[in-house]
Symmetry: D2
Subunit: 202 residues, 4 copies
């Protein structure tokens, strides 16, 4: 069974502006997922699209969410990438979580949200501090909206307190990050396969 | 000495769309502030303006932040209003906090950010649960960016778990909310006066 | 296959002192789990035992954790019950999470922590506000220490803001809480079965 | 006017066990406070005392909190020191916050809690990540229980993600930490003086 993963990048900057550390972290996970026959699609840079604020699945009038929502739900695994700002997940990450609020009322006849049976993992980067808090924001919200969180589902990097090094500029990928990415990918692939074979009954 | 307060409303919806519970809570605080000769300006509904994502004070090209930033910094007190979504402050609230990140590098020759000497309070509403977490997000970020937090600085309301009543639709204003608003306003007015008279030396 | 669940109650008060709302919420989940042939053991009231502060699996000298740790790891599912204080999980809940930190270095030859393949759910109660933040604390920490979080894994109740009603004193169990408990139990039972049959390969 | 500060150290380990990074960070702040004529007392190592779980000011029977509470309230400034575990403040820090919950009902005839007019700052250390989340927990809870938070009130250090260096073992004190400590101390001293001269009217 081949599985697919959809990666989203919730950087505050659109694609052209500068290289993205969040993309770099998603890349680490992509390599790890490849070892488990999971294809991670090209990251969707949310800032390139006009995702409207709101808590429905279509905020009308040019809203880019319906199409992104479709891409996310077409995959078996969500790789949720966000930078850290003010020690927390980015405002764009929060917007995506808010749009998933609609899943709560989009249940099938067994009471299952569209995200049921799919697993989510986090890819988090910052110059300094905030990965655990950002993780807590993602896992609480994603779980609330129907996602399953495999064991050890967060791959992150931050530098020393109050410093400004970017993950993308590190001379070499930290060994511990690569090791964590392997666990995240292995666990997520295993769990996604199990749930695809045997979905939650609702 | 007359003090002024700037109120921002970080609802996900723009003004015309529906009445705002966040505005209703800001109104409770406005009444309480009036008893201390603090004039709270008409709330700035952020969703009515094109505040760009980013962490500088001007993201160029139609960015509405520079003007809002000026209005916020012209006042002595910030009333930060946000609804709760997914148990957390709104994505629009987070965007405002991110824009204030720029204060960290806009210090004067004594090392003081433009927010130094100003006090911030929170006005938080939701259908259910999340006020303490939203408060923690605001106070940590606002303090980091130079704001002073007076004693008992959060006025909030949420309903019973998993319910959907809106604050704006309550038949009467809960007594405890009104009592809390009085404390918030009294403390904020007192502290803002002290700091206006005797600014942080840096 | 019959599954077992271990429930812990992180109330600040020991058993004799007063009836526990956290126990009442665990009871709601126990009823829901019973419909899926999952036996939830008598809740372990942590405050009755001398769990020492620390981050190892045995802090020596009368430490009650080693035995509780064993009971937790003997079950397939963890029902983590905590009251809310100051809008957050209790200090006793935090202590339990800290003790699980040791799992990170107790991996087998495939790099798997003792919690791998086990699922965790949350039972959270408070007079008012805090369930989402407490959930975020639990899910982030539990996931970090190897637990898997099934879809919709938190069952909670809080009353209206600034009120003091206890869950245990409600005249009737809120319908939404019972409905949520059913989802939590169904999802947890399903996922625990899958992982018991097919453990993470590491 | 000479001001006094009470420092608490919420390390999980008692004094004899090992040198404390939290103490080291409190020391950095003590040096900074000395430049503003604020005397920071010897840190109270909470783990050396039997502070009982609970939310009253005296949990009876050997409870060490009443005396510590008195020392804290005798000072003008609270330096709240905590290590980071699981990306959050320690369980012992949480216990202290819970004990302060009692302040809410210990108001004087003007409705002022015993903490009114006192300022609190944070001293936070960890091997890696968690300072912002721990700060948010402290500031939300401390503010709720009547403490005032001066501008830039958190002094912290954490190392690179997933590393294990201790603050106390750093060869030299990071320049940015020293600079932050100076701001924290200057702002806290200034604000504490203002509030001592002109208390909140309630």
């Amino acid at each position: 069974m081949t599985l697919t993963a959809c990666a989203i990048n919730c950087s505050l900057a659109p694609s052209g502006k500068r290289e993205s550390s969040t993309d770099a972290m998603i890349g680490v996970l992509r390599d790890a997922f490849a070892m488990h026959d999971v294809i991670v699609g090209e990251p969707i840079r949310i800032a390139d699209h006009d995702v409207k604020p709101g808590v429905t699945s279509d905020e009308g009038d040019g809203d880019a969410w319906p199409q992104i929502r479709e891409q996310i739900l077409a995959a078996d695994i969500l790789v949720f990438g966000t930078p850290i700002w003010m020690g927390q997940a980015s405002s764009i990450a929060k917007r995506i979580l808010e749009r998933m609020d609609a899943f709560l009322s989009e249940t099938d006849e067994q009471g299952r949200m569209p995200s049921y049976g799919k697993v989510a993992v986090a890819a988090i980067v910052g110059n300094e501090d905030g990965a655990h808090w950002a993780t807590s924001q993602l896992f609480q919200s994603l779980n609330d909206t129907g996602w399953t969180i495999p064991a050890v589902a967060a791959c992150y990097w931050v530098g020393e307190a109050m410093q400004s090094t970017d993950f993308k500029d590190l001379e070499k990928r930290p060994e511990k990050v690569a090791k964590t990415a392997k666990m995240v990918a292995s666990n997520a692939a295993h769990l996604a396969k199990l749930l695809k074979d045997a979905p939650y009954p609702g």
